[in-house]
Each structure stands twice: as C-alpha cells, then as structure tokens.
Assembly symmetry: C2
Homo-oligomer: 336 residues x 2
C-alpha cells in the first residue's frame, strides 16, 4: 500500500445526514485493472483508527483479491486523519468543531467518488473489517442495486447497546485527561490515550486469546508486557479528536437510520440483495456472532461464517494463517 | 442484614502472604443457630466493593440458607471500607501505604476468627459470589479438610490474564483523575470513579443483557440513562484507595500461589475435597464458564452449573427470580 499514490477527491458542499453542509476531502487508493464494463470493482473501506496503509493483508497476487484481476478502491474513513478529520480541517470545522459523520455519510461520499471520478456504477464486492464491515453493510443496504457481493468481517448493521456502552467507556477514558480540555488542547492528551488503550486492550483481544496465551506467540511475556509494549502508546500517532470523532461515528451506526428506511431495521436488512457473508469472530466481544445471526434472519441471500479464531475482534484482521485462509476462502467463494 | 450487630475481631501482628506483619480488624456478622457439634456453619464472604449489607439476597427463612437451621458468618473482605482498609487504618498503613492483601490473607484471617472466637473447625458450606467466590475456592483448597461443601458463583480459582487486563483498564480509569494524586488525595477523586464506572458498565452487564433490553425492566429507558443514573456515581460512597486495593487483591488471586501448593495450580485444585458446585453466569465477561470448566478437570467432587442468565456477571447476584431459584436449588442440593 505504501508504494501506491494516495489520491484525494474534494466533495464540495456535501450534505451530511445531520443536515450540515461541508466541504470534505475523501482520500483513497485506486489500483489494479479496471475492465471495460467496469464490472470488476472491489471497494474496501477502512476500520477504526486505521488507514489505507493497513489494508494490505487481503491483497496479493496469490489471494482472491488480486490487483491483476480486479480494480480495488480503498477509501479512508472520515476522521481517520487522512480523509477530512478534526485534525486536518480548516478552522471552521477544526478539532471539536468537526461535525458528526455517520457511516452513511462515508458511504454516500464513496458513491459520489466512484461515480464522478471513475463512472463506476456497481461493485463486484464491498468488503471491510470492523467499521469497514459496517460500511460494507450500509452499502449493500442503501445502494442495494449497486452491490453484487458483500462481506462484513466483525461488523454489524447496527451498533448494539452493549457496544455503545463499551465505547462510552473508552470515550470517558480518553477524555479523562485534563489536557484534553474539551478538544481544545495545545498538546495531544497522550495520558488519556494511554488510559483509553489500557481499557481497550481487554475488549480487543477477548478471553480466548489470553486463555491460549497467544500473546506469547506475538512476542509478549505476559499481560503487563503486552499492555506496556503494545498498548500504552498505540494511539499516540493518532489525533485525540479524530479518535473521539470515529467513536461517535461508530456509536451512531444503524443502516436503517435514514430517509430510505426510516428506522425500519428489518426493512433495511431485507433490502440487501447482494450475495452476503457475515463473518464475525467467535470471541469478538464487541461484534459478537449472535447479532449477525439475528441480522441474517432478514437477509435473503446471506450466510453466517463464524471465523473459528482465538483472536477476538482481530479475527477479521487475518493475524493467523488459519484466519487469513478462512477469510480468503469466503472471498474466493464469492468472486473467484 | 441492617438489624444485625456488626462485630469486629482484632488480628494482632497478622502475617500477610507478602511477609508484612500488620494488625487488622476483621468485621463480620454472625447469626442464626449454632448446633452443639458446630457442624452447621455457613461462611459467606463478600464481593468487590460490597459489604455484609448486600449479602441478604440468599438468606431467608424460606431459602436453603435459613438462619433457623444454620449459623451464618459473613466476613467483610479487607479493603472494603468495613474491615481494615486503606480508608480506615492508622496512619502507618493508611491510604496508599496500605499493604497488598491477598485472597489467601482474607481466608487465613477468617479461619483465625472462626477458631478463636467460635472454636469452629469446619464449615458445612462456604459460598460466595465474584470475589466472594474466589474466597470460597481458596477456602476449599487451602483448608480442604475443613470444608464440606463449596459453591463459587461467578468466581475462579485464579484470575485469568484477560480479567487481569480488564482490571488494569478500570484501575487506569480511576487513577486518570489528577485529584487521585497517587492515593494522597485531599478529596475523593470522584471524576476518576465516574470514568471507572463508565468503563465497568459494559463488562458487568454483558451483551445478552443489553440485547434483551433488560435495562428497561430495571427502569432505564436506554443505555445513556443507564450510565447516567445507575453507573456514574455508583462508586462515590466507596473510598478510591479501597477500590484500588481490592482490584490488586483480585488481580493477585491464585489459589496455588502459596506455601502449600507452590504455584502448582492442578495440585491446588486437586486438594479440593468438598462437594463443589461452580456456578458461572453464561454471559459473564470476566468469569466466563470456560475457565470453571477447565478447573473442574482437577476437582474430583465438582460439578458445573452454568446459570442460564442474561445478567452477565450479575447472574450470581440473584437479580431475577429465575437466577435466584437456580442458585437456591444448587444450595439446597448440597445442604438440605
């Protein structure tokens, strides 16, 4: 991903779901081979606190997502510090003044990009992990006619109350730092980021991962070393307001909260016509399989494939060869 | 519990597992009818951030734990603000200077109390929920000849790495408050307690409870109201150093970390001769059933009864009639 040219599309006077009108930059990678009828497009949005740089694990000449055969677009989610975000915006929408962005706002912006820059009308596949998986589900529902196949890895169609509360906890942890100053900080509130990270650690890995002492495989002697070496500074290179804005995007997520579905959650799921695979991790604490299972009651062409992984939420990140193979098999079943 | 006389036993020069020697007060309730051969004693230790006042839900003339038939002793766990704690100790061991207390320290103090005050040598039943359940397991292992029956509700024989990390998160949340000042506060760091509470909320209830919207049954419209009305101030009446000290007790827990078992975890479990029921809640995020299941491989006379409850960790708190009935059935099976 590092060697590809990052491009940016300017959305002028873009109307957000909240009604606010703003100009936003959508940064993206686009690469691979676009065929003549533009029927081989894969859209692969980013996750919480991630960027295009961390999406490479599913892209490879030997994998089903193969740039020789497909045209791949990786849009950076708003507020991730690459696309328009609290940290990189003009003064009027800077920092704590940045507007709330929803998953649907992201998806609508991506749709505009595809249309205006590439004249692409439909997707062979939309796929994502975590908040990327939320965007995939929003795409397949809101633009159901445009999506042929959809994979949501560790993602839900609606943020559950439990996840909302978990996110309130990490939000409270970051904002506990007096240096945060309601978002008007002079220097990054890094102590707050460490607090947030130490809270997040237990949620991210899940019980199985610890029980099987996977941290040793990952190079950490024990839980303390894991926290100190992996977690404490994990968010230091991200801006605090960006991190908080993405939490609000996540909490707000519900594919039915829009003009089209008017909060009718079943209807928003029933609209999904794409061939769908929902792939939760078996021990994902914030996207547990049970919620995907309930969603599938309303998805006519959908299938549940629980990733039999000990990696908790990271099941969808392909951290082990087994997980990666499992994910690639599902992708191949849809597009190969 | 409110009407019973709280008594206190002074342990002079009590040697802690750490080697430190301190004088400690062990506060307790003792009530019911002690029979002649003192064979009808039930020991029922307290939980994290709880006291004798919250133990009443399993005690009733119509329940198996019936004061007419049994002699019931409820010892307050050290650091809970009633027995010796950072908040109520003489200057030399006050606040942040209070020594680390282990579950075994609690259990050894309780054993001394039983012997010295009541000349009680053995227990008909030791039972507890959460950290009370940890104490029950430590009793049945360390004093295996003295325990006839044991029930651990939502408790493990050893704090798992995952729970250790979850606890590091809540510890970080409380201590993020600058007013905490490494334990040398002038006024309670209540902002830190709120941060900790908001982090704890997702862990305590679990996903099922939210999915089934049990918060509505409990009188809260939505997740925000639950956090604001139930959680925000839930720890305000506890002392911050007490709360932190109990976290350290919890993290340190391992029934094999002592002179008798020398870190041989299997051996410490194998020593349990009591008729044992381990009762995790099916969706308890910090005491998941899987770990009890593993423990039972080494307990010869033990049984797993997963409380089929949506109450997460509160499964053992008897919040619903079904949960309470389930727990009482198990108690009756052992002692009635």
């Amino acid at each position: 991903m590092q060697n590809l040219e990052l491009k940016s599309y300017k959305l002028e006077n873009f109307k957000l779901k909240s009604g606010k009108v703003v100009s936003l930059n959508l940064s993206y990678l686009a690469f691979g081979n676009l065929n003549k009828d533009k029927s081989n497009v894969i859209l692969y949005p980013t996750r919480y606190a991630g960027t295009h740089l961390e999406q490479g694990y599913l892209i490879n000449d030997k994998y089903p997502i193969n740039p020789k055969d497909f045209f791949i677009i990786i849009p950076n989610m708003f507020c991730n510090g690459v696309s328009s975000s609290p940290s990189n915006s003009p003064k009027n929408i800077q920092g704590p003044n940045f507007p709330l962005i929803t998953i649907l706002d992201n998806v609508r912006a991506q749709k505009t990009l595809l249309k205006k820059v590439f004249e692409i009308e439909s997707l062979k596949l939309v796929i994502g992990w975590s908040m990327g998986g939320q965007q995939a589900m929003q795409w397949a529902s809101y633009y159901s006619n445009c999506v042929e196949n959809m994979i949501s890895m560790c993602g839900h169609a609606k943020t559950t109350d439990h996840t909302y509360v978990f996110l309130e906890g990490v939000y409270a942890a970051l904002t506990s730092d007096p240096q945060w100053n309601k978002g008007n900080y002079e220097e990054q509130p890094n102590n707050g980021k460490t607090t947030m990270a130490r809270v997040w650690a237990g949620w991210a890995h899940g019980q199985d991962w610890f029980r099987e002492k996977k941290y040793i495989e990952d190079g950490y002697k024990n839980a303390d070393e894991l926290l100190d070496k992996l977690w404490n500074k994990i968010y230091y290179h991200r801006d605090a307001n960006d991190l908080l804005a993405m939490i609000r995007t996540w909490q707000e997520h519900d594919i039915s909260k829009n003009d089209l579905f008017q909060n009718d959650f079943s209807k928003s799921l029933q609209s999904i016509s794409a061939k769908t695979i929902l792939m939760p991790g078996k021990n994902d604490l914030y996207f547990p399989p049970e919620d995907n299972e309930i969603e599938l009651n309303d998805i006519s062409n959908g299938e549940l494939r629980v990733i039999p992984s000990s990696y908790g939420h990271y099941a969808g990140a392909g951290k082990s060869k087994e997980d990666l193979d499992f994910i690639n098999r599902a992708i191949a079943d849809l597009i190969s």
